[in-house]
């Protein structure tokens, strides 16, 4: 009988307290969720978008042609903040894009990542009014160690066909002709650098872009 009376006394009080507590907890959870949403959007969106654009470029700061990407304001005094941040972060020190342009490819012409386990053929045509070079790196921009000590071909060292075209083979194993060893494993990056010779500027609209070599996967 005593228990019953206690129940009848405590039940409305308890339920009121619980209701109040529940409301409080729900308000705290709601506020925490709002703050979590706020901080999440700010940190992930702010830092993430900055990292992405600095690392990979955007149409505002880079020129992309097929697999090739170039930063047209590199090393210039009037460079945009993304170009500045990209080169500072990666530790690059290129020549001004007014005199030299470096196109970097991390994929083949069909968009598949360049990997050391595959063979590639890079085909193009000589640029008569510019000095140029073609180099292969690992994904972090390091030269790939190889017994032949071959890391690059330049317009002076490459073997051209009679019609002025060239073909460079990227492969782990020795190949006839213009062979660049890719050694080890992992992803690759190919750099195509064009240098002004004081004859024709490298910044002629679209001229270099039209003559960039193609990268074809041969076998894996």
């Amino acid at each position: 009988m005593q228990i019953l009376s206690f129940r009848t006394f405590s039940s409305p009080f308890m339920s009121f307290t619980l209701h109040k507590l529940k409301k409080r907890i729900s308000a705290v959870v709601g506020q925490t969720a709002d703050w979590a949403l706020f901080i999440g959007i700010v940190l992930i969106g702010g830092l993430g978008s900055s990292w992405y654009v600095v690392e990979n470029g955007s149409p505002l700061s880079t020129v992309t042609v097929g697999p090739w990407m170039m930063w047209p304001s590199a090393a210039r005094s009037d460079a945009d903040p993304y170009t500045r941040a990209h080169h500072a972060r990666l530790g690059k020190l290129p020549l001004s894009a007014e005199f030299s342009q470096t196109y970097l490819a991390r994929t083949d012409s069909e968009g598949r990542a360049l990997v050391a386990s595959c063979d590639y053929s890079i085909e193009g045509h000589e640029l008569l009014s510019h000095w140029w070079s073609l180099s292969v790196f690992d994904s972090k921009g390091r030269l790939i160690s190889n017994p032949a000590e071959r890391f690059t071909f330049t317009s002076d060292t490459i073997v051209l066909s009679p019609d002025g075209s060239y073909s460079v083979v990227l492969s782990r194993d020795a190949r006839p002709g213009n062979w660049l060893p890719t050694g080890g494993g992992g992803r690759l990056a190919v750099a195509f650098t064009v240098l002004d010779l004081g004859v024709r500027s490298v910044v002629q609209e679209g001229e270099i872009e039209r003559q960039l070599p193609t990268i074809k996967r041969k076998s894996c």
Partner: protein, 184 residues
């Protein structure tokens, strides 16, 4: 229906404020990356270099590569200059296509470049002077006086890789590059 109920429970004012703050953080991060980067390309390549002296770097190989994506398509002579105590003279022979003389600020801006033209070997002589310095009374006959806002920087002479037959000649030309402090 469930989606609409969920969407109506999102505090859109918070989302709007977050997007605005995200934009601010994006801009601040991008602008401060160059200052926050412990070692940029200038620091990496100019470490250990003597001041106001031209130094020919060894061939770029996996063991000697100082910068990422620095190709083995050239040999380099570098001079870390400091014109705080007076003008610095830089000279180099640019014998043929692919040769370059370039000047950089510590931020990595290539503020001066001259390239060799085909068929003409040229000697380039520069006198780097801070903008607030008076023009010296004695300067070389072919010397170009270059007013520089950056007192410190890097002079780079680039000799292109032309194959084994040209290597000895190119190194010999590269070694003729000079960089030196000119007393007031």
């Amino acid at each position: 229906m469930a989606l609409i109920t969920r969407l109506t429970r999102i505090n859109w004012r918070i989302v709007g404020a977050a997007v605005a703050a995200m934009g601010v953080l994006h801009i601040i991060t991008t602008l401060t990356i160059p200052a926050l980067t412990p070692r940029n390309g200038y620091d990496l390549i100019s470490k250990d270099l003597p001041l106001n002296q031209m130094h020919v770097l060894p061939p770029v190989t996996p063991g000697t590569q100082r910068l990422p994506f620095l190709a083995a398509d050239a040999r380099y002579a570098l001079c870390r200059f400091d014109s705080t105590d007076g003008a610095v003279s830089v000279s180099a022979i640019l014998p043929g296509p692919g040769w370059v003389l370039a000047l950089y600020t510590p931020e990595g801006d290539n503020f001066f470049t001259t390239v060799a033209r085909p068929g003409a070997s040229q000697t380039v002589s520069l006198l780097l002077m801070p903008t607030d310095e008076r023009t010296p009374e004695t300067s070389g006959p072919q010397e170009v006086i270059l007013r520089v806002t950056a007192r410190r920087g890097l002079a780079m002479v680039r000799s292109p890789e032309q194959g084994l037959a040209y290597r000895v000649r190119n190194i010999s030309e590269l070694k003729q590059a000079r960089c030196g402090f000119r007393k007031r």
